[in-house]
């Protein structure tokens, strides 16, 4: 009976390709890391599952009229999802520690060196003929060093949609691996004595400062770097809703239902770029390597900046908190705190590390704006 043959011909066993099999394995691995190892579960579980769905043969899910492809077109190509997530991040972020000690912004600046070094690295690989990245692609890859998921996805969607899957996976994977990547680098660049440095208690920050900061930041971006305005605009909007205190119901929904809904579909949509055809290409390997380098350099430059600030400033600065400048909020700050405790068990650096940590979010959004200004033109 030819109906039974039809079932066989339309089955996955018949249509499966080695590539899709590998990618389903990759998806399962991301699920394992998210669920069992508890690495960035919100993203690795959704991206991993989306990756599996995208590699099921013989059905339109991540292509054509499939739900994941429609979600990608509606939410990522437009930039809507990463921007809405950024609004949610703003609504969840407490800029208090940064306001209490604005100089920590310099640590957030230094850590962005990872972005530009990686850009250069990507171009070098191309010059060497090992890879073939355009300037826009190199810029998008560099943003992995920003250690900020929505920023990386937003920039990749703008400059190099073809690399978005690999870039998003690299960004979230390395953010998840921060506890493994950062400590050795921190310890290699600092002495036991430096890591034991205690820092002075942060001052109270008034309601008015919290309300005015997002506006100051937005207006500066508008004046100096408009191409960063979409990202910074949504970040500051979310933060203003959080701090102004008169739209609590909007802030509450932004921090919960809205960001959760968008996270689910963002993850699935990113997963739709994990199809074997798009993901199993040499450039992915290059991106994974470069992304790791970006994280390492970003961490290192943050720590070195911390050492410099400790030299120059009157008040002591523990260089460890410089590592939190890569963002990867709040993981990097927690890591800094833990490394600090190892050196001095009475030294609570968490709040001090939150300053550079959130500064890193601003820093990479600014770097993203610069990349877009220079390469999108």
């Amino acid at each position: 009976m030819e109906l039974i043959e039809q079932i066989w011909l339309s089955s996955g066993l018949y249509q499966i390709t080695p590539g899709r099999l590998v990618m389903i394995g990759v998806g399962l691995t991301l699920l394992y890391l998210g669920i069992v190892k508890n690495f960035e579960p919100l993203l690795l579980v959704t991206i991993g599952f989306g990756g599996i769905l995208s590699n099921i043969p013989g059905v339109e899910i991540a292509t054509g009229d499939g739900l994941l492809h429609l979600t990608y077109v509606v939410g990522i190509e437009t930039g809507a999802f990463p921007l809405i997530i950024f609004m949610g991040v703003g609504a969840l972020t407490d800029f208090g520690p940064l306001l209490a000690n604005p100089r920590t912004l310099f640590l957030g600046a230094a850590a962005q060196f990872g972005i530009f070094a990686t850009l250069l690295g990507a171009l070098a690989l191309t010059a060497l003929g090992w890879m073939d990245f355009s300037l826009r692609e190199a810029a998008a890859i560099g943003i992995i060093g920003g250690a900020d998921g929505p920023t990386a996805i937003y920039v990749a969607g703008q400059l190099a949609p073809n690399l978005l899957g690999a870039i998003a996976v690299a960004a979230y994977s390395y953010m998840a691996l921060v506890p493994l990547i950062q400590p050795p680098i921190i310890k290699a660049l600092t002495t036991e004595k430096e890591r034991a440095i205690g820092m002075v208690q942060l001052r109270e920050v008034s309601k008015a400062e919290r309300i005015l900061f997002p506006l100051v930041l937005l207006l500066l971006v508008a004046a100096l770097l408009p191409s960063a305005a979409p990202l910074i605009g949504m970040l500051t909007f979310g933060n203003l809703m959080r701090e102004c205190g008169v739209v609590e119901r909007l802030s509450h929904t932004t921090q919960n239902a809205l960001i959760n809904i968008v996270t689910i579909f963002l993850g699935l949509a990113v997963g739709s770029k994990l199809s074997a055809e798009e993901f199993l290409v040499p450039s992915t390997l290059g991106i994974l390597v470069l992304g790791m380098v970006a994280f390492a350099i970003g961490t290192a430059s943050g720590v070195l900046m911390g050492k410099l600030m400790n030299r120059l400033s009157a008040q002591p600065v523990n260089p460890i908190i410089g590592a939190a400048g890569v963002s990867a909020v709040p993981m990097a700050a927690r890591v800094a705190n833990r490394v600090g405790l190892e050196a001095n068990r009475h030294n609570i650096l968490l709040m001090h590390a939150m300053g550079p940590n959130v500064a890193g979010v601003i820093g990479s959004a600014v770097a993203a704006g610069i990349m877009i200004t220079f390469t999108a033109g």
Partner: protein, 72 residues
């Protein structure tokens, strides 16, 4: 052409990091200035007695937060 690409990269790196630092330096300045003004103002109004804008904001915040508990 490839050296050219590298050159572009180097230039982009220098200008890029320069811009990042320049921008965040301005932000540090602006933020500190803002904080100073706010704190001075707070001090003034505190002496003046009347509730300052930030106190008003804080109050309405408290109220709103209280409301939310019931509405949301």
């Amino acid at each position: 052409m490839q050296d050219d690409l590298i050159a572009q990269g180097v230039e982009l790196m220098l200008v890029g990091m320069g811009t990042v630092f320049a921008f965040l330096t301005v932000l540090v300045g602006a933020t500190s200035l803002m904080s100073t003004l706010v704190m001075r103002r707070a001090a003034v109004t505190a002496n003046a007695g009347g509730p300052s804008n930030e106190e008003l904001a804080a109050m309405s915040a408290a109220i709103a937060r209280h409301r939310r508990k019931s509405t949301n």
